[in-house]
Assembly symmetry: C2
Homo-oligomer: 200 residues x 2
């Protein structure tokens, strides 16, 4: 299949198509594979890439990427099934899990609404979220989409859909990052921080 035209350039191209890898880095990676890695490591890398793409799918419940269905979080009996935290991407689930402070469920939208890019409600996993609420087990949905224009619009859109169902919808707080100086915060963040102030 790749017999005739196989070349170093062809290998370089494979890495150039990945995000964050420019032509120079792609070349460096290709030469690293050809000059320094063992044949076994490279074969195993190729196997894992192929198998991962074949076997890792969207969890039928939360839509996160997983090799087991349902995913480990959805299958766990130690998580609080009354709360769903809605995020844009699998990276966001990982970031929140890393805090070790959240014990509820997740829902991955795989994007945010963006009229400019032609991304409408049917293009992200909103329908699947609504279906999960039908059982009546869920009492709170935490909107943890990104604090960007699109992320906020998505949070507002979903909140309007869900609220009539009698489920409480909350939004994660936006403010000055802990450990950072007030002077480095941008205007909008400071306004949000002031608006969201709490009694201490």
């Amino acid at each position: 299949m790749v017999a005739e035209e196989l070349s170093v350039e062809k290998l370089v191209e494979q890495f150039e198509q990945l995000p964050g890898i420019g032509p120079k880095s792609a070349e460096r990676i290709a030469f690293h594979i050809l000059e320094r890695m063992s044949a076994e490591s490279v074969a195993s890398m190729a196997d894992i890439i192929r198998a991962a793409k074949e076997k890792i799918v969207f969890c039928p419940v939360c839509q996160n990427l997983t090799a087991e269905t349902p995913c480990r979080i959805c299958a766990s009996d130690r998580r609080d099934r009354s709360v769903i935290c809605v995020v844009e991407s699998p990276e966001d689930v990982k970031a929140i899990e890393n805090t070790n402070e959240y014990n509820g469920m997740y829902h991955v939208l795989h994007g945010a609404l963006s009229p400019a890019d032609g991304i409408s409600p049917e293009d992200i996993k909103i329908k699947e979220l609504i279906e999960r609420l039908a059982g009546g087990e869920v009492t709170e949905v935490i909107m943890a989409t990104n604090p960007t224009v699109n992320g906020t619009a998505t949070a507002v859109y979903i909140s309007r859909l869900i609220s009539p169902m009698g489920v409480k919808v909350t939004r994660i707080a936006h403010g000055v990052p802990v450990g950072s100086g007030l002077e480095y915060a941008d205007k909008i963040t400071l306004i949000k921080a002031l608006e969201g102030r709490q009694v201490i």
Copy 2:
């Protein structure tokens, strides 16, 4: 082979082991593959990585990486066989070829002498270079190793081996910024460096 323990993390690890890719970038690449690339593109990428490692070998003449033996440059009847340009890596051949100003042959050492890292003459392709000079066809060897301490030491070492054989040994001019790698030099600098070579 990768059945049981397949996971997103396993895929992330594959990219983390490549040069210039940190944990965050590796994660971004893995999610890009799983969320955005088609199954066909991923399968083809895996095939090309595997096939490239299997089929791309060192040219028996110049030691450059190639899918054909001998490589295209060594097989060409339009190149000047009386001159050999000695470089550290395949990237360097590419950089010099891109100038379109050099029409001789190459020899890739795959490294430079480095007593600190335990790299001695037997660890790089010096013996293979000496063997190429035995035919008497070569009249000049251009040392284009990097202008670093190790690259310069390698040039001097090889020059002392070759000079007694009656072959002229030259060094590319220090138009290449000292302390930097050959692969980062721009075209003009590389042309100047080739033009300004001196007998060593």
